[in-house]
């Protein structure tokens, strides 16, 4: 595949593109504005997202809507207990006539990959995603194959049905930049959703490829480059690192977040600042993204679990103990 050329964007263009993405997705996924924002953050800083929510809240719709917004490829893999790594990555096939092996690429060679119900497959299959999520390349028969950027994995899992599932290992969880909870919409949002669907104003057919305006992969790459250019003051950076380090020093957390969390926190804050039309990062940006960045990277102490605390509750308490940066 050819690498798309990376264009540079003016701040106005960047804001226009982000607004375009945000509005298109929000038009389809009603009442989940925060979720849409968090998925866009992950897209802007080349991260991957683990979506968690009960069935029927639009996890798959969200990914399809995102794929519909730009002219990239979208693939979906339904994770099942018998799914093998080669089913995702691809494998070498012997060509009888040519007398040589040919590489048959799996569905992982795409721009947007929906790993639906990722915890339905055993750890062996889940681990096949490690290399592609971190290195953005796939090794088949000892040969590395780079993926065409932009590449993003959106994995979904259901928090309710735990029977017959394989919890994601720590190494796999750490690869996800954000863990996003999709909750039920509010009364007004749900009423609006029902009204639009039942009146035909909102149709899933809208997601079929058409003549509508879409962003090119190069424009997504340009947005990612623009997010990288957002300025981070040294004190804000220190604040992010102190937040992550605090997770390793509190007794209510058994295993704190690693350095990948610090990197993710700053990157996500930069993307969030870009989405808010700023060219610099505020401590509030760090706070804003700290929960989705860190909630899946910590392991609660048994006492906290016995007390019925969730990672979000522990992290919120922890954030209050870390002073905002000194200016």
């Amino acid at each position: 595949m050819t690498q798309p050329t990376r264009a540079t964007l003016t701040p106005e263009q960047a804001h226009d593109h982000i607004d375009f993405l945000r509005n298109r997705i929000q038009a389809l996924l009603i009442g989940q504005d925060d979720v849409v924002d968090q998925v866009l953050i992950a897209l802007l800083c080349r991260g991957h997202v683990l979506l968690e929510g009960v069935p029927g809240l639009g996890k798959t719709l969200l990914v399809r809507a995102l794929a519909h917004c730009f002219a990239g490829q979208f693939r979906r893999i339904q994770f099942t207990p018998d799914l093998m790594p080669a089913d995702m990555t691809g494998h070498a096939v012997y060509h009888m006539q040519e007398g040589s092996f040919h590489i048959r690429r799996g569905p992982i060679f795409t721009n947007l990959l929906l790993a639906d119900e990722i915890n339905r497959s055993p750890a062996k299959t889940q681990a096949a995603l490690l290399e592609v999520m971190q290195e953005q390349q796939v090794t088949i028969e000892g040969e590395s194959h780079a993926l065409t950027p932009p590449f993003m994995v959106l994995a979904t899992q259901n928090p309710v049905e735990q029977e017959g599932t394989y919890p994601l290992p720590e190494a796999q969880l750490d690869r996800f930049l954000l863990k996003v909870f999709i909750d039920y919409p509010t009364l007004d949002d749900e009423a609006r959703l029902v009204r639009q669907v039942t009146s035909g104003a909102l149709d899933m057919g809208d997601l079929e490829p058409g003549d509508e305006e879409t962003l090119q992969p190069s424009q997504i790459l340009a947005l990612q480059a623009a997010a990288e250019l957002i300025a981070v003051d040294e004190q804000v950076l220190n604040y992010a690192v102190r937040l992550v380090q605090a997770t390793r020093q509190t007794s209510s957390i058994l295993k704190g977040a690693g350095p990948r969390a610090s990197i993710g926190l700053v990157n996500a804050a930069k993307a969030w600042a870009l989405m808010n039309g700023r060219d610099f990062v505020l401590p509030d940006d760090i706070k804003q993204v700290s929960l989705p960045v860190m909630r899946h990277r910590i392991l609660l102490a048994p006492e906290s679990e016995i007390d019925g605390l969730t990672p979000d509750q522990v992290l919120k308490q922890l954030i209050q103990t870390v002073d905002a940066p000194r200016t």
Partner: protein, 521 residues
């Protein structure tokens, strides 16, 4: 009953220690005790089943119709009968246990006539009036081993109950609960293993084969009773022995016997020692006999006196002397021996009331009326206080809420207390701008406005708040007419602080002055 062969250490224990000892005793001879209970129970069971079978074979029921229906509908009556016979079934294990405890190896009692006597003695009362005796295990040895009945048994039981009666009652409750837990546990285990729905079929709908199955189903319940019975009997017997050791000083007697045995080889002093022991026992048991003993003192030989001194020394040391600290309150005199003046006053008052009850009734009425008035006034006062408190609550809530704001002294690493700000702050801001130190100037402006908001206008903020969170907190206090000036100043401040972008001097000074005009007192 040979005390010297007692298989346990004779000493006074607490009731709970005695119960623990009973469990140990039951474990020691568990199998034989359990079988001694189970075999007679199974015999009863088989006899009853055979009887019912024979009854079923009769074409014409010898029982009245109502009774025959009652009998036929549920073989669980079998279980009830065996449960009811427990006071009798407990006798053989107890009898056996007493032989084990006193190491009696004679087997003369093991005869069907003896067994029949054992079961027949006082059986009617045991199964009727005393069936629900909660301390049955404690009283059983009185019937079985002491063979007492009637008033003698009653007095004996009363004596035994003092001190260990509650433990005997708790023992019965605990063992009953254990039996129930075992039965219930087995039922739940079977249900969980078989994975079938729990369903109780009414017995009157059952066919013959189902009822036959029910006959077998009660066997586990009989087994559970047999499993628990040794513990119950042994614990009760242990309580009984403990009480007798306490009452009859078996421990002392055994010590004396042991002392006598040890001195047995010295045959020359044996008569003397035994005489001294007898003398001292007399002294111990009947204190009044000390005088005659002292009277005989001149006739004692030197060896007898030495022996007596030794025994006295032994008796003055533990375990014969038990010192106790009593920490509870106790009447030194009987309550009726109170001050004679009070007593005479009460007597005179009583006499007065008896004599002039007609005249005092009006006085009592007045006192009663006064008491009612006092009670009414108290209720009115309480209600008035309550109403005034409720009315004052909304008024008081505001100052409380204001007072509860624990205003931080440092925000975002900047000191915002009154002491940390310079005296002539406007002049310092201008100086900083003139110097080109925009950061210093903006910092002073931001800190001053923040100080006014937090400390003078009581905007509730927390120490971990960031600039935007402070701005949000100020927005919540909508009564402050800031017209967006604070938000704009915050924007300029964060741009300078985190993006190093210089703010327009004129604009920020305008914003600062506008804010100060609104906020400054």
């Amino acid at each position: 009953m040979n005390l010297t062969e007692l298989q346990l250490k004779a000493r006074v224990r607490t009731s709970w220690q005695a119960l623990d000892l009973g469990v140990k005793i039951a474990r020691r001879w568990y199998l034989s005790l359990m079988l001694a209970w189970l075999i007679p129970a199974l015999v009863v069971y088989l006899l009853l089943v055979a009887g019912m079978y024979a009854y079923g074979m009769w074409s014409v029921s010898p029982l009245p119709l109502s009774l025959s229906v009652l009998w036929e509908v549920s073989p669980l009556w079998l279980l009830l009968i065996i449960w009811w016979l427990k006071p009798l079934l407990d006798r053989l294990p107890l009898f056996l246990l007493s032989h084990y405890i006193f190491n009696d190896k004679a087997r003369g009692w093991l005869h069907w006539r003896a067994l029949l006597r054992l079961y027949r003695f006082d059986a009617l009362l045991s199964l009727s009036v005393r069936r629900f005796d909660i301390q049955r295990s404690l009283h059983l040895p009185v019937t079985v081993l002491e063979r007492q009945k009637g008033g003698a048994r009653k007095r004996r039981c009363e004596l035994l109950r003092r001190g260990c009666g509650p433990a005997g009652g708790w023992l019965t409750w605990v063992m009953m609960s254990l039996e129930g837990a075992l039965s219930l546990g087995l039922a739940i285990l079977l249900l969980s293993l078989l994975g079938i729905d729990f369903y109780i079929q009414p017995t009157f709908l059952m066919k013959g084969s189902d009822i036959a199955l029910l006959y077998l189903e009660i066997l586990p319940d009989i087994l559970f009773m047999a499993l628990i019975a040794p513990f119950y009997i042994a614990c009760g017997f242990s309580l009984y022995l403990n009480r007798r050791i306490e009452l009859e000083a078996w421990d002392l007697e055994l010590v004396f016997r042991e002392s006598a045995r040890r001195r047995e080889p010295q045959s020359t002093i044996k008569p003397l020692l035994s005489a001294a022991l007898s003398l001292l026992m007399l002294c111990l048991v009947t204190p009044l006999s000390i005088a005659p003993a002292q009277a005989q003192e001149p006739t004692l030989t030197r060896e007898q006196l030495d022996a007596r001194d030794q025994v006295r020394t032994i008796l003055e040391t533990p375990p014969f002397v038990i010192e106790k600290n009593v920490s509870h309150w106790q009447w030194q005199d009987e309550p009726d021996q109170v001050d004679s003046e009070d007593s005479s006053f009460l007597d005179s008052l009583n006499n007065l009331m008896d004599e002039d009850s007609g005249d005092l009734s009006s006085l009592f009425s007045v006192v009663e009326l006064l008491l009612w008035i006092g009670m009414g006034l108290l209720v009115v006062l309480v209600l008035r206080k309550l109403v005034s408190h409720l009315k004052a609550a909304p008024v008081l809530s505001k100052p409380n809420a204001r007072g509860s704001v624990n205003s931080p002294q440092v925000m975002m690493g900047m000191a915002i207390s009154a002491e940390s700000l310079p005296e002539q702050i406007d002049a310092r801001i201008d100086e900083a701008f003139e110097r080109g130190d925009e950061r210093q100037a903006m910092s002073l402006m931001y800190r001053h406005v923040l100080f006014l908001l937090i400390h003078q206008h009581r905007v509730p903020v927390e120490p971990w708040y960031t600039e935007l969170e402070c701005a949000d907190a100020v927005k919540q206090r909508s009564q402050l007419p800031l017209d967006g000036c604070w938000d704009e100043l915050t924007q300029y401040w964060v741009q300078l602080a985190y993006a190093h972008q210089s703010p327009p001097r004129a604009r920020v000074q305008y914003l600062y002055l506008a804010l100060k005009k609104v906020l400054a007192p």
